[in-house]
C-alpha cells in the first residue's frame, strides 16, 4: 500500500516540481545569429555542438522607415533574413533546443508606428510567426524577442506596443522578451516576460577618446556598482565580435570591418589598438586615407569576466554571446569560450 501510494505520489511530486515555478525555463548557453543570410558554416555548427548551445536568438528582420524622394514611407520590415539553404537550416536547428526570433525596431519606426500601434503589433507578430511557420521552425519557438533602444520620450509608445505584442503572443502560448540596455536599468521595467541585458556597445564609438566602445569596464561600472537586480528575469549578453572605428582628424567616419591589420604597408600600430593608416586603403567602398586612424576594438575575456562579477546570477540566468560568426569566434580559444559561458555561482 505504502509503495503504491509512493508510486502515485512521486510522479505527482515530480510534476509539481516542474510546474511549481511558472515563468522558469531551462537555462542554457545561447548565442545570437545576426547575419542577413542564414548559412551556418561547419565550424559554426561545431561551435554550437562544442558549447552545447541550447538557444539560438535569430534576427528575423528590422523595422524601419525609409526616405524616398522626400517622402517617409510607412514602417516596414527591412533586411529580412534569407533562408536559402533549407538543409542547412534544418541541420542547425537540430543542434539547438530553442530558437528565439528577434526583431530590431528603430526609434523612428517606433515613432511612426504610434499612429496605429495595434495594427503594427499585429503585423509584426503575424509576420514573425508566418516566417517561422514557413521555414518549419514553429516547434522550436517558445519566445519572441524585440530589440529597441527606447528612450524616456518613446518609453510609453514602446511599452504600449510591447503589451499588444505580448497579448498576441500569449494567445499562441509564446513568451515575449526584450533587450535592456544599461541606461534603461534605471527606467521603468518593460511589460515583457523576461529581458536580455546587453553588455556590449557600452561606449560612444564616435568619440575619439573612447577606449573601447564594445565593452569597457569603466563605462559599465557606474551602472552596476550598486546593482542588486531588476524587476524582471534577466539573461546577459556579452560581445564576441570586433570592429574598427575609423577617424579622420579625430572626426568619426565609419565603422569598418575586415581590415587586414597585419598588413604593415597599410597600417602601423604601437599598441595594437590604434592603427595609423599609411596609405590609401579601400574597405567596402570606403577610402581610408594616409594619417587616418582606426581604433581596433574587441572585448577581451578578462573584461567580460570582470564585468560578470558585477552582475547578479541566479539559477535561471543564461549567458548569451553576440554573435555567431566564425570570423570573430576564432579569436577565442575553446577554453576562453567555455570561460565566457561559465556562470559565476548564483548570488
Amino acid at each position: 500500500m505504502k509503495r503504491s501510494i509512493l508510486c502515485l505520489l512521486l510522479p505527482c511530486m515530480f510534476a509539481l516540481s516542474v510546474w511549481a515555478s511558472p515563468g522558469e525555463r531551462p537555462v542554457g548557453n545561447s548565442i545570437y545569429y545576426w547575419r542577413t543570410t542564414f548559412q551556418v558554416t561547419d565550424s559554426e555548427q561545431a561551435f554550437l555542438r562544442e558549447h552545447n548551445i541550447k538557444r539560438l536568438y535569430l534576427r528575423m528582420f528590422d523595422v524601419d522607415v525609409e526616405q524616398k524622394e522626400g517622402v517617409t514611407t510607412q514602417p516596414s520590415p527591412i533586411a529580412s533574413i534569407q533562408f536559402k539553404d533549407a538543409k542547412n537550416l534544418q541541420q542547425t536547428m537540430a543542434l539547438v533546443d530553442e530558437c528565439v526570433p528577434t526583431v530590431f525596431i528603430t526609434l523612428r519606426a517606433l515613432k511612426a508606428m504610434q499612429s496605429d500601434s495595434q495594427l503594427y503589433a499585429k503585423k509584426l507578430t503575424e509576420r514573425v510567426l508566418n516566417m517561422c511557420s514557413y521555414h518549419e521552425l514553429s516547434d522550436k519557438i517558445k519566445e519572441v524577442q524585440l530589440d529597441c533602444d527606447w528612450t524616456a520620450t518613446t518609453e510609453q509608445a514602446y511599452f504600449s506596443f510591447l503589451e499588444q505584442v505580448r497579448t498576441l503572443l500569449h494567445e499562441q502560448g509564446i513568451e515575449l522578451s526584450a533587450t535592456i540596455r544599461l541606461h534603461q536599468l534605471r527606467s521603468a521595467v518593460p511589460p515583457v516576460d523576461r529581458g536580455v541585458l546587453m553588455m556590449y556597445n557600452t561606449g560612444s564609438f564616435k568619440h575619439p577618446k573612447t577606449k573601447n566602445s564594445i565593452l569597457d569596464y569603466a563605462d559599465v561600472y557606474p551602472y552596476l556598482k550598486n546593482y542588486k537586480g531588476y524587476d524582471l528575469p534577466l539573461d546577459y549578453a556579452f560581445p564576441v565580435f570586433e570592429w574598427g572605428i575609423w577617424f579622420t582628424d579625430n572626426v568619426f567616419q565609419s565603422i569598418v570591418r575586415g581590415l587586414d591589420y597585419n598588413n604593415t604597408e597599410q597600417f602601423y600600430t604601437e599598441d595594437g589598438v590604434y592603427y595609423l593608416v599609411q596609405r590609401w586603403v579601400n574597405c567596402e567602398n570606403l577610402w581610408l586615407g594616409p594619417n587616418d586612424v582606426v581604433r581596433r576594438e574587441k572585448a577581451s575575456v578578462e573584461t567580460i569576466e570582470k564585468v560578470k562579477k558585477l552582475l547578479p546570477f541566479t539559477e535561471q540566468t543564461s549567458i548569451i554571446l553576440y554573435h555567431l560568426d566564425e570570423n570573430n569566434l576564432t579569436n577565442y580559444t575553446n577554453y576562453e569560450t567555455k570561460t565566457l559561458f561559465t556562470r559565476p555561482s548564483a548570488r
Binding site: 524622394e69 516596414s76 520590415p77 503585423k123 509584426l124 503575424e126 509576420r127 508566418n130 516566417m131 511557420s133 514557413y134 579622420t248 582628424d249 590609401w280 579601400n282 577610402w287 586615407g289
Partner: protein, 713 residues
Amino acid sequence: MKQKLCLLVLALVSWQCGWACFIFSDLPENYKYYNVAEYRENPVFPRPSYTHDNLVGWQKYTGQDIPLDQIAKVVYKFSITDMQQCKQDPSIKMCQQNAFAKYIFTEDNGYAARVLLLAKQIEQARSVSNDPWYYPTKKGENAYGYLLSDVRAMMQEVKGSEQEKFLTERLQLQHIRVLFAQWDYEACLYLWENDIEHWDETSLMRRLIKDYIAGAYAHTGDMETAYRYFWEQGNYNEMAELARTRGEGFVDYVRHMYDLNPDCAELVAPALQNELLELDQSYPFKRPDSVVYEQYNSLVQYILQTHRSKDMSMWYYTSAYLIDKGGDPQTAAKHIYAAATYKTSPMMQNNIRMMRIYLDAKTKEYTPKYLDQLLEDLKWMEEQVIADTARVKKNMRYAGELEWNIRHNRSCNWYDKQYICYPYLMLRKTVLGEVVPRLYEAGETTLSLALTNYADNMLFTLVSPEARHVFYSDFFMAMDTIPAASVERYIKSVLNPQTELEKFLVKKSYVDKDYLYDIVGTLYIRERNYAKAVEVLSKVNPSYQKRLNTAYNLRKDPFAPEQAKNLPEKPNSKLNFANQMHRLQVMMENSSIDPNRRADAMLDYAVGMRQSYTTVWALTQYGQGYPCFTAVYREWMTDERRGKIEDEYDQLVEQALSLYTDDEAIAAAYLRYKNNYTVVTKYPNTSAAKYVRGHCDTYADYFPIKDKLKREE
C-alpha cells in the same frame, strides 16, 4: 588643420572686423563643373503610360461612344464590392448612372464584367503580397488562392465568343501577372515564347505583358534580353534597378544603355551628371576614388572608340572632364576641342565652350595672342552670366530674392534653379583658379589683380552692388598680400587702362578710389614707407575710414604705451599716423639734431611702429586672421615677420636709450613710458623721479617687472 584654425580665428574676430560671409564657400579647384543636363535631384525616367489606350480599347469593345472618364471610373475606381453589387443588382444607381457600367452589367454577355472583376481581385491579391509585412505561412501558399485557376478557366470559357481576342488578351495579362507574382518565371516565358510574342506588336496587352517578360528574363538569368526588352519598352528605371540588383554600378547601366542604343546620351545625361558630381567630392572629404573614375573613364573611352553615338560631343566633353580630373589637362584639352566639332544642343555647346576656355587657361602659354583670345572668351562668358542672371530672376519668388541670396552667403549650387552660377562659376574657376595664379607666378601682378577684381566683382556689379564683400574677397586678398608699389601700379592701370583687356576688365570691376588708395596707403605703412603712405593717403576722402568697421581701432593712440588710449575721433587717422611717423623718421636720421631729441623721436617711432601691428593693428591691416575660402591665399603676417618686428623694436629702443646724453631727458622718456622703477632707482635726482615720488603712490607702480620699455602683449 590650418584651415580649421583659420576658421576658428575668423569666427572669433569676424564680429570685430566685419568680415562678411562670402558667396563662394569653396575654392575654385573644388567647384563642381561637370554639366551635361538640366539638373534633376531624382532623375527618374518618365514611365510610358497606357491608360488612354486601354480606355479606348474598352470603348471600342462596347461599340458605343461612351465617354472615357466613365470607362475610367469603372476600370480604375470601382472596388471589388462595387463590381459585385452591380453584378448582383444592375438596377442600382451606381450602375445605372455610369454608361459603361450599365453596358457591361446589362447589355453585354457578362464576360467583360467578369474579366474586370477578376483583374481587380488579382490587383487586391497583389497589394496583399506586395505589402512588405506579408509572408506566406507555408510553401506553395500565396495571396492569390484560386485566382490562377479562375483566370485559366475563364480563358477557356471566352473561346469562340465574339470578343474572344480582346478578352483573351486581357486575361492573358492577368495570367502573366499571377504567375510572375508567384515567381513562376519559366511559365511566363513559356507563354511568351509560344504565344504572346507572336501577337500583333501594336497590341496594348502585348506591350503591358512584355514588361513582366523582361522581369522574367532577368530572374532566369538572361540579362541581355531583359535589358533589351526594358529598353524597347522605354523602362529605363527598371534597367537601372536591374543593374543595381545585380550589384552593378551605374557605369555598367550606362554601358548597357549604350550597347542597346548608342544614341542614349541625352537619356542618361541627368543621372550620369548626378553620379559624377557625387564622385567629385570637395574638401575635406576628397578620396582618390580612382577605381570608379577609372571605370567611367574606361566606359567613355570605349564609347569614343566605337564611335556609334550621334551625340559624340557629350561623350568627348565627359572624357575631357574625366581626363582633366585624372591630372592630364593637355589630353583633356584635345578632347574638348574634339567635342566642339560635333553638332549638339545649344546648352552643350555653351558648356563645351566654357570647358574649352578653362582648359585653355590651364594649358596654353600666355602669349599676347592668348590674351586676345582670353578677352573674347571673357566677353562671351560675361554674356552667359548676364543671360543666366535674367533667367534666374524670373524664378525668384519675390523681388529682391536674388540680391538677398547673394548677400546672405547662398553657396553656389548652380544645379538649383534658384541660384545663378554655372557660367559665373566657370568664369571664376578659369580666372581665379588658373589664370591669376599663373600670371602672379610670372610676375604679372597688374594684370593678375585686374582679372581678380573682375572675377570677384563682376556679379555684384551686375546684380547687387551693395552686396559686395570688399574685404572678404579674392581681390582684396590679392592686393593685401603683394607690395604696395604693385598695387599702386594696378591703380594707375585702372584709372588709365591701356589695353583692350584692361578696358574690358575695369568696366565690371570695383574701382572705388578711396577703397583702393586706402589699401595702398595701408600697405605702404605696413612696409614702413611713410613718405609714400602720406602721398597716397592724401588722396583718400577724410571721412572714408570712419565708414569702415575697423574705425574703432583707429581711435587708439599708437604712440601711447601699454593700453593705447582712445583719441578723440578724428578723420584720416592713417594719414595722421603716416605723417607723424615720417616726421619722426626724418628726425631720427638727422644727425644734426640734439641727440636727446633724436632719441625721443626714435623711441616714439619704435613704439608707433610696433603698435601699428599690434594694438592699433588697423593702421597696417583690415582684420586679423584670414578668410580661408578665397582662391588667393598668401599669408603676410607670419611668425617670422612678427618676430622681426619685435626684434626691430628692441633694437630701436636700445639704440634710442644709448643716444641719450642727458639724465633728465632719459628719465623723462622712461617716465613717459611708465618705467617708474627705473626712473626712481637709476635717475633719482631728476625732476621725473621727483614727480614719481610725489604722484605715484601705488605699490604696483614700483614693480620692476612693469618697468620695461618693451611691453609684452
